[in-house]
Amino acid sequence: MNKSMTQSQKLMVFVLSMSLYGLATLFTELIPSLQVGIVEFSIEYFIFIPIALAILFDPLSAALGAATGEIIFSEIMLGQFGGLGELEKFVTITIAIYLAGRLVRDPKNVKNIACIALLAVAIQQLMGATVDILKVQFAIEGFEAVPGLPESVFFTEGFACLNDIFFSGIFFSMIPTAYLVPRLHGKIEPLLGVKPRDRETQLSGVKLSPKVIGICIMAFIVGIAGEFLSEVGIAIIDWEASWAESGISIFMSMLLAGVIITALVIKFKRRQANLEVMYD
């Protein structure tokens, strides 16, 4: 059935996942967290929404919709947009939800759903924590040399990761997904004009091909690359700039960089335009 879901039905799933998860992130962004000592009971995300949709409908549309929704509703609307860094979140969320949707074979099997919902959070959190630790390492000059800092970063990040896997994973993914999916199954599909998914409709027995896993890993690497694009650049220019004694020469190089960026963008656009003319 997944195969025969039409493009417009996929778009429906995308729109649905985007609006619902977007709205949810708008709230979770605003609900303050509760800390008891170092254990943080924060509502990280209502990831059960897109996971449920991914299980019931087309996993990829649900995953992309959720990631898009998060960026638009909680980042752009609330002015929290973090630029390229958001790419990491986008990719990890997409991968986690997509995998969850692919792994569930029978939307009626509650145990299976619960395990996979927890797994999805674990995957997402581990990927996120890895990126976060690397990020702080880059942002702080002489990271290793600062007393207490490396340990505390590893500790806080590692702890936050485990904390989230168990707290968010159980309360905001495992339980609600297992509650929602059976209740939505057979009820939400007719509203979209789709035939409910069942055991037979899953893609011919192939659970996870190496190709799918390969693509996920590639995507994650691209995500990290996006995150560090700027910061790897830092190291290089930092090094290059060390010959420059005055701030002015740094400024000049900055300005030059700006001009080059602008020029590149314009040139790129021109070429694109030319190509388009050719295609026309």
Binding site: P147, G148, L149, R183, I188, F251, M254, E276
Partner: protein
């Protein structure tokens, strides 16, 4: 802490949130920043979003910080957005600081953390300037020009369109829960905690009917999108060009660029 959370929770209404978000997006059409071409702002953002990570000099960072603070002021950002910004910065750095002291850090740890905080603050404010200052449609056109996928660009404008509907549906469902359900007694320490848990629980329960209601709506929306040629346009490059024709750089853009450059120049001179 818990008392604070509860008070916040009580004051926070969905109506308020909706107003703040819409005000933030559309309530500032008349500012200087809103008149700047989105492409200029996006390039500016790439610059200011990346630049701080290159620098470690506190004075320089402070100079940049003042500049982005001024541009943020110019965009007339909604109070909620500013509050979130401050809250986020403070908790993040504060938490890290406390934990690092716990691991035997000293005053020397404070320096790098402060610098990092400053960097985060600059990039965040630059992002607030661009993403709150621009009205979503112009932002979408700007992103489209830079080759961002159509579906994403459309989703931005659509998100603002559907937000009031979503909020209203959600609010009413939540009300159904509140009015027909029975909230626990919120007296005392434990009561407050129970009350908070109850609130989170009904928010989560509310998503079941919300998913069904929005599913019903999104079917019409997508059918209408098909009829109104949304997908047809996405496959057609000429139409994309037509959409982008409304963009145009003017004197405001030049002034904005000049002011930014002069300020940077000044900062570097002082250093």
């Amino acid at each position: 802490m818990k008392v604070v959370t509860n008070q916040l929770w009580d004051k926070f209404s969905i109506e308020f949130l909706r107003n703040q978000v819409l005000k933030n997006a559309y309530g500032n059409d008349d500012t200087v920043i809103a008149k700047i071409d989105p492409r200029t702002l996006l390039i500016w953002y790439v610059f200011f979003g990346v630049l701080p990570w290159f620098m470690h000099n506190p004075t320089l960072l402070l100079g940049l910080f003042i500049f982005v603070a001024v541009t943020t002021r110019l965009t007339k950002v909604a109070p909620l957005v500013l509050f979130l910004f401050c809250f986020g910065i403070l908790t993040q750095s504060g938490y890290l600081l406390i934990v690092s002291w716990f691991f035997g850090g000293d005053l020397a740890t404070l320096g790098p953390i402060l610098i990092m905080t400053l960097k985060v603050a600059i990039t965040s404010l630059a992002s607030i300037t661009v993403f709150s200052g621009l009205n979503p449609d112009r932002l979408a056109s700007g992103l489209l020009w830079f080759g961002c996928p159509d579906q994403f660009a459309f989703s931005i404008a659509f998100a603002y369109r559907i937000l009031p509907i979503l909020m209203e549906e959600f609010q009413n469902i939540l009300l159904s829960h509140r009015l027909r359900g029975k909230s626990p007694n919120s007296i005392g320490w434990r009561g407050k905690f129970r009350y908070l848990i109850y609130q989170v629980k009904i928010i989560m329960f509310s998503f079941l009917p919300l998913m069904l209601n929005i599913a019903k709506r999104s079917r019409t929306t997508v059918e209408a999108l098909e009829l109104r040629g949304y997908r047809y346009a996405n496959q057609n490059k000429i139409i994309k060009k037509m959409k982008l024709r409304q963009l145009g750089m003017g004197t405001v853009d030049v002034y904005f660029a000049i002011v930014s450059i002069i300020w940077l120049w000044g900062c570097f001179l002082i250093v």
